[in-house]
Symmetry: C2
Subunit: 237 residues, 2 copies
Amino acid sequence: MIKTIDVCLSPDLMHLYTVSDKTVVVVDILRATSCMTTAFAHGINTIKPFAKLDDCLAMKSHGYFTACERDGKKVEGVDLGNSPFEYMDENLKGQNIAFTTTNGTQAIAKADGAKEIIIGSFLNLSTVANYLRGSENNVLVVCAGWKGKVNLEDTLFAGALVELLKDNIEPDCDTPLMAQHLYNQAKHDMVGFLQNSSHVKRLARLNIHKDIAFCLTPDQYNVLPILQNGLLKPFQR
Amino acid sequence: MIKTIDVCLSPDLMHLYTVSDKTVVVVDILRATSCMTTAFAHGINTIKPFAKLDDCLAMKSHGYFTACERDGKKVEGVDLGNSPFEYMDENLKGQNIAFTTTNGTQAIAKADGAKEIIIGSFLNLSTVANYLRGSENNVLVVCAGWKGKVNLEDTLFAGALVELLKDNIEPDCDTPLMAQHLYNQAKHDMVGFLQNSSHVKRLARLNIHKDIAFCLTPDQYNVLPILQNGLLKPFQR
């Protein structure tokens, strides 16, 4: 039986895909899933993702750290924003975070009903690929995009996965092929390839070049965040 | 004032775009908009596009030729299918066609409310580009895709337009850049580039290799179908 990989380029296209038999990889390179990967690599205990800001803020009174971003900016009064460097903090070790972002946690919510939901980023690219290679499930990569619109950086990550898995998992439709072609064009200079992209321009205005370069660096960590009963935890065999 | 071009990769993402101030280019390379272009190049008078099959079939009694395709196949009992070669018929000159297809005419319906709707295909690529260059409107290319899913051939056409217009019209978001990158990779051998795409595989099973090669050939015709009061007509200055 040949396993397949498909790519949903926007959460607003999720109605076209059946997920009940699939491992869904949610990706929001700039920056939600890069932050989550970084957090687990630095010893966070759990992350509870929320689509709604109010639900996330309410977790403060339950002893959670709050991480809330809207439109690229940290929400006022919360503990953490959406820069991966904030999650390299020793004080967060063993703690729990309630997390909401403009796109990433919305995409997680839309993947509800999947056989399995894992978190992907360039930072844990090979770890994600190895996990998928060893799993028997078909794969759907869900790109978080920007408010429903398709973006380049999440598509490139999808393409990187398709490329890494090409000997094991077959593209199911046109979007994996498109993503793979784009990744192969971009892979030797992803920062350069992305410099005209809309979200990079948006973030550049927020002065976070360092975040962008870091989020595009493959294989910094070998953690695999996996969703179980509404909580993200690092996968352990 | 800089004009912009954006690309909607699927009709199911149309809710994300404002069209009231834009020229919308609807594209369904395989094969609806290629057929429409071919039909006008061979002297068809008007084409009335329909989203619903029954509405289209009802036009038979109003003296229209009927052209109906579902799932890549000609609907039984209608006059015309979805191969451009059927529209090169002398007997169709001056006639009117009621047209419905799985994807192309659905995309036209979703573009309702646009300032202007025109029909694009590789067959009239430069004519479309010249028209857009001379217009003052911003541009949205709407890719018909396949039942909501993004496809490669319509994306390549969008990329070809972005590339042709790069000195005059600025990409508005990431999708024009993605399409342009893909087109520049594919342009020297589009048939080869598309051979693994899902729709080409689907159509190959229907044995229409000749249609595919023709629909990917740029600049066969210089007609520009434009929608006015629900009717497609050739644009005349």
